[in-house]
């Protein structure tokens, strides 16, 4: 049994180490940093480190140690029937982000650890709330639970083979397969080509408005909430645009939050 657990641990270890979705987080942070005011960049450097690359590494290490998030609920946003954000308590990304911005605004009266943690939250939770799998719609109660659909898998052969795929896993890992050898810089360049012109539009508004914006992006996808629904190879490729739209929004909105917190 011990050997089996070692095998499993190794498998999980390799899987985590090569979790390509991390490259999208890196890209979002790099693009966010580029889009920040000099004041916001300066505050980030002061609390997280001089070098943006080191900041990313520090952030990644803290994340791997589980130092960033106490609860999975912090990553999520819930929207009512009108796609308005539901913020009943602090167990959601919106409340946590609003709190983090307040902490950074009051940085002079806070400890370095508190401010650094608040900046980490701004980065991670802004990314998480733009992950389709973390946007819950009250109209679709099952959106909070995971569900399965059928996805075409198994390469580019003539006959598509469909296998069950978990919704949340798909939105975290389902697109790295297309660009598995890309660096974060390549994603940053591409995000700027396809979304750079919407930068001001994405950065405008409040965190609650952004949750509504994500709700609009996500709502049509709940037609997939059917174990017999099939996502073809072509449809999978086309959905990458929606995934990228989330990454770009997250990047520019991290910058917007840091800019407003350090104004």
């Amino acid at each position: 049994m011990k050997k089996l657990f070692i095998t499993l641990a190794l498998a999980m270890g390799v899987y985590t180490a090569q979790a390509w979705n991390w490259v999208y987080d890196q890209a979002a942070l790099l693009l966010a940093f580029e889009s920040m005011t000099p004041e916001a960049q300066s505050v980030m450097k002061q609390y997280l480190g001089e070098n943006i690359r080191q900041q990313i590494q520090t952030f990644e290490q803290a994340r791997k140690k589980g130092q960033l998030l106490d609860t999975a609920d912090w990553r999520t946003v819930t929207l009512d029937m009108d796609l308005k954000a539901v913020v009943a308590d602090d167990k959601n990304a919106i409340a946590q982000l609003e709190n983090a911005v307040d902490v950074v605004k009051a940085c002079a009266s806070k400890s370095s650890e508190e401010v650094a943690f608040a900046i980490h939250k701004i980065i991670e939770l802004t990314i998480e709330m733009h992950n389709v799998g973390n946007v819950y719609l009250e109209e679709f109660p099952y959106s909070k639970e995971d569900f399965e659909f059928q996805q075409s898998m198994g390469g580019y052969g003539a006959k598509e083979k469909f296998r069950p795929r978990k919704w949340k896993h798909f939105w975290s890992y389902g697109f790295s397969v297309f660009h598995s050898s890309w660096s974060a810089e390549m994603h940053v360049r591409d995000l700027k080509v396809c979304h750079g012109r919407y930068k001001e539009q994405y950065m405008a508004g409040t965190i609650r408005d952004w949750a509504t914006d994500m709700g609009k992006l996500v709502k049509p996808l709940y037609a997939w909430a059917d174990p017999t629904c099939r996502l073809s190879r072509q449809a999978h490729a086309e959905e990458e645009e929606r995934f990228y739209a989330g990454v770009a929004r997250a990047a520019y909105r991290i910058a917007a939050l840091m800019n407003s917190a350090t104004k």
């Binding site: 095998t7 090569q18 397969v177 297309f178 660009h179 598995s180 190879r233």
Partner: protein, 263 residues
């Protein structure tokens, strides 16, 4: 099914999914990255306008859509076909060199074309120029050459795909952790004079000059040979062949694009 077996199967499944993700389209991404870096500012601006992305984003678009209507006919354009005399067959409409020439000619009139047609032809060109340089994308008559669909083996006696070996493994020997950015930084360092020499000629001539490398693949990796027992010298030669073709394809793709959009 007993509990131990389930754990082991989960571990194996995780590893296999990971592997499938890690090998997707390195060469195609590298070729398009080299091309992207060598575009003139004018060509880059126009291409980004039509594609709404950089070139690498669409590196494998033709693979993703080769069995989908209305693109199904293009599924047969991915290789260079030889006639009975062993020459690149420019009368064969399936031949990649023929299609590259045709699409290039069509795009010379891009100003008179609808945006969606310009985009579609660019998507073809991105993939065709790459595929016509792939050492295992050359098909000779059965009478004179082995067919590239034959299999290699591994230490366990299991079949390994000749095609997959040359598409991926040959390039990545000793480079498992390389990103495409790192590859392009390290490899695409030719002088202007060298690039000019590479880009001289036509798709037909480019296909002809790549044939010796293609023929060499049959000698280096004969039918049934064990992929885990190739000598280091042979592995390095396989990698050199792949690098040579990737560089030629990357510079030539940029050249074609720059020619099309110079006006």
């Amino acid at each position: 099914m007993n509990k131990k077996l389930i754990i082991l199967l989960v571990a194996v499944a995780l590893l296999s999914v990971n592997k499938a993700m890690a090998w997707g389209g390195f060469a195609h991404s590298a070729i398009t990255e080299i091309a992207e870096r060598n575009l003139t500012p004018e060509a880059r601006e126009k291409i980004h306008h039509y594609l709404n992305h950089s070139l690498p984003f669409y590196a494998i678009w033709m693979d993703q859509h080769r069995y989908t209507d209305p693109y199904r006919p293009s599924g047969k354009w991915h290789s260079n076909w030889m006639d009975k005399n062993g020459a690149v067959d420019m009368n064969n409409e399936y031949c990649a060199a023929y299609q590259t020439t045709r699409v290039w000619n069509e795009l010379k009139n891009y100003k008179k074309m609808a945006d969606k047609d310009v985009k579609l032809n660019l998507l073809y060109l991105i993939h065709l120029v790459a595929d016509m340089h792939c050492p295992c994308h050359n098909v000779w008559p059965k009478e004179s050459h082995p067919q590239y669909r034959y299999h290699l083996t591994n230490n366990k006696g299991k079949k390994e795909s000749f095609h997959k070996f040359w598409d991926n493994d040959a390039i990545l020997y000793g480079r498992k952790k390389w990103t495409v950015t790192y590859y392009a930084n390290k490899m695409a360092t030719l002088s202007e004079k060298e690039i000019k020499k590479i880009c001289k000629g036509t798709p037909y001539k480019w296909a002809v000059t790549s044939l010796p490398n293609a023929e060499r693949t049959f000698e280096l990796t004969p039918k049934g040979s064990n992929v885990q027992k190739y000598s280091k010298a042979d592995r390095l030669e396989m990698r050199r062949i792949s690098d040579e073709e990737i560089l030629k394809a990357g510079y030539r793709l940029a050249y074609v694009m720059n020619q099309i959009f110079k006006k």
